[in-house]
């Protein structure tokens, strides 16, 4: 397989509209303020930057939001821009699927699956963060975008950059699942496979962003990119009828999603849009890469990095940037975290598919398996209403299920052979 591809011939000639104005940023640790820029690191303490929203900006009511187009931009007042977005206008607003079977398995009142496995355009929740990251790149004048990725982000950047006509450099570990490699290369981006794991790829990209001034969405645009994750919380609240669930379970890689779920629920509560207490947040990781679960369990505020060893590659980040913030959000919400084996996450994929009709990738299997583990350890109440965040599509990681599903019988096109099978199954 080639490691690089030429850009589409017309990519450089397309007209990219002027973007929205990204908001200024401030350091999440020391509070130092910065003007809007393609930078995610505080010059004073090297902490992460995040956007600063105007304190008294006008906010819409529920009816106004509900009247808008069904995309993540219906919540644009909580996204980090002044002015209208210009690309990726139709991502978000994925289904919230009730699962009575899973509710019985978890021993709770209700379970819903937030199904970002069918996110547009690239079948993972990364479409949300790329939508905001790409608009930030355009607004800041970046002429090239890109990312370091475990696969889903690569798919999302490649797809959305291709549609926007922006050149993209995408860096992935050398051993990603075939579906994620093909699902990136097909869009014509400059795809580079790097010898090493995701942490190695990310290190290279940090240096590349520094050297070339590219807009790497999860590196130097991370403050703007991460805000897109909040829309998963906004949608859950709206789809439940403007109320909050009592518990949410989500997979953890870099840890950002957990922190943004907490922020999203908090922002909607602060705006008076929802009823109910803030949900307890639960994090899920594979046992072969569980630095955030380890931190939740032992306490403290410093991640001990690990070398990933799991088939759940999309969440195999051994040195998670937002790990301490995710652990803090989890503990602060009254939630907890669980790590599950690769066998358990495969069983989780199958259970979700067989019970709910949703085919998740390995991260989704991890989430379901962790929910089962948390239920078994008494973390849920019988009256809980639980949302499981399914962040990616199982068709991207079919390798994980090889050998774990029964072989389909092969028969001749004769009715007696079918009758033999039917009788045997009955």
């Amino acid at each position: 397989m080639p490691t690089t591809l030429d850009f589409p011939r017309d990519a450089a000639t397309r007209t990219i509209p002027a973007g929205p104005r990204p908001l200024p940023q401030a350091c999440k640790l020391c509070g130092t303020a910065y003007p809007a820029s393609a930078s995610a690191t505080c010059e004073e303490c090297l902490g992460p930057l995040e956007p600063v929203y105007p304190a008294h900006r006008p906010l819409p009511d529920a009816a106004t939001i509900a009247s808008r187009a069904p995309s993540l931009w219906r919540y644009r007042e909580w996204l980090p821009f002044e002015g209208e977005p210009v690309v990726s206008l139709d991502s978000g607003f994925t289904p919230l699927v009730a699962s009575p079977v899973l509710a019985r398995r978890l021993g709770v009142a209700r379970v819903w699956v937030k199904n970002d496995a069918v996110s547009h355009p690239s079948l993972s929740f990364k479409d949300r963060v790329v939508a905001t990251g790409l608009n930030a790149a355009i607004g800041l004048g970046c002429d090239t975008v890109g990312c370091a990725s475990t696969g889903n982000l690569a798919n999302a950047v490649a797809a959305q950059a291709a549609r926007a006509g922006i050149p993209a450099w995408i860096f992935i570990p050398h051993d990603l699942e075939v579906g994620k490699v093909i699902g990136t290369a097909v869009y014509g981006s400059r795809l580079v496979r790097v010898r090493g794991n995701y942490d190695d790829v990310n290190r290279l990209c940090s240096q590349a962003a520094d050297r070339y001034g590219w807009g790497l969405v999860n590196i130097n645009l991370r403050g703007y990119y991460g805000e897109g994750s909040k829309t998963m919380a906004f949608e859950i609240a709206e789809q439940l009828g403007w109320r909050l669930p009592t518990a949410v379970v989500a997979p953890m890689a870099g840890g950002s999603l957990l922190t943004k779920l907490e922020k999203g629920f908090r922002e909607f509560a602060g705006a008076g849009l929802v009823s109910g207490a803030a949900p307890r947040l639960y994090g899920a990781q594979a046992a072969g890469c569980s630095p955030i679960v380890n931190l939740v369990e032992r306490g403290g505020d410093t991640i001990d990095p690990v070398v990933p060893a799991t088939i759940a590659r999309s969440i195999a980040i051994g040195n998670p940037a937002d790990g301490r913030f995710a652990a803090s959000a989890i503990r602060g919400s009254g939630g907890w975290a669980a790590a599950v084996s690769d066998d358990a996450l495969i069983a989780g994929i199958r259970l979700l598919a067989e019970s709910t009709g949703v085919f998740a990738e390995t991260a989704g299997g991890t989430t379901v398996a962790a929910a089962l583990a948390l239920a078994a350890s008494g973390r849920f109440n019988p009256d809980d209403e639980v949302v499981l965040c399914i962040t990616g599509n199982g068709l991207k990681t079919v390798e994980a299920l090889q050998g774990s599903l029964p072989d389909a019988p092969l028969i001749a096109p004769r009715i007696r052979e079918l009758e033999a099978l039917h009788g045997r199954d009955v």
Partner: protein, 91 residues
């Protein structure tokens, strides 16, 4: 031991604009101390009040995260390359 120390742009302004610095020392901690002495404004960005690396900063000795080695006590060899990278985001 003479080594090469690479800084991200966000720190280079505190080292007279240099993104690559030649430094010396027997351990990574010695190298950091050498640079801290030569660039006092950079010093508090390289190590915290207790003398260790900040949690949001990863030091790589060649291609290895020093937290998988001996931290600032990790020995360095002639010609080694040390890189500082801010914490790693999801992907």
């Amino acid at each position: 031991m003479a080594v090469t120390f690479s800084l991200p742009t966000v720190l280079a302004r505190l080292a007279d604009g240099q993104t690559t610095i030649q430094a010396a020392g027997g351990t990574l901690g010695d190298v950091v101390a050498d640079i801290a002495g030569r660039f006092p404004r950079l010093a508090p960005r390289l190590r915290d009040a207790a003398g260790g690396p900040y949690p949001f900063v990863t030091y790589y000795l060649n291609d290895e995260d020093i937290r998988f080695q001996s931290g600032f006590a990790t020995p360095v060899n002639e010609g080694d390359e040390i890189t500082i990278v801010a914490a790693i985001a999801g992907g």
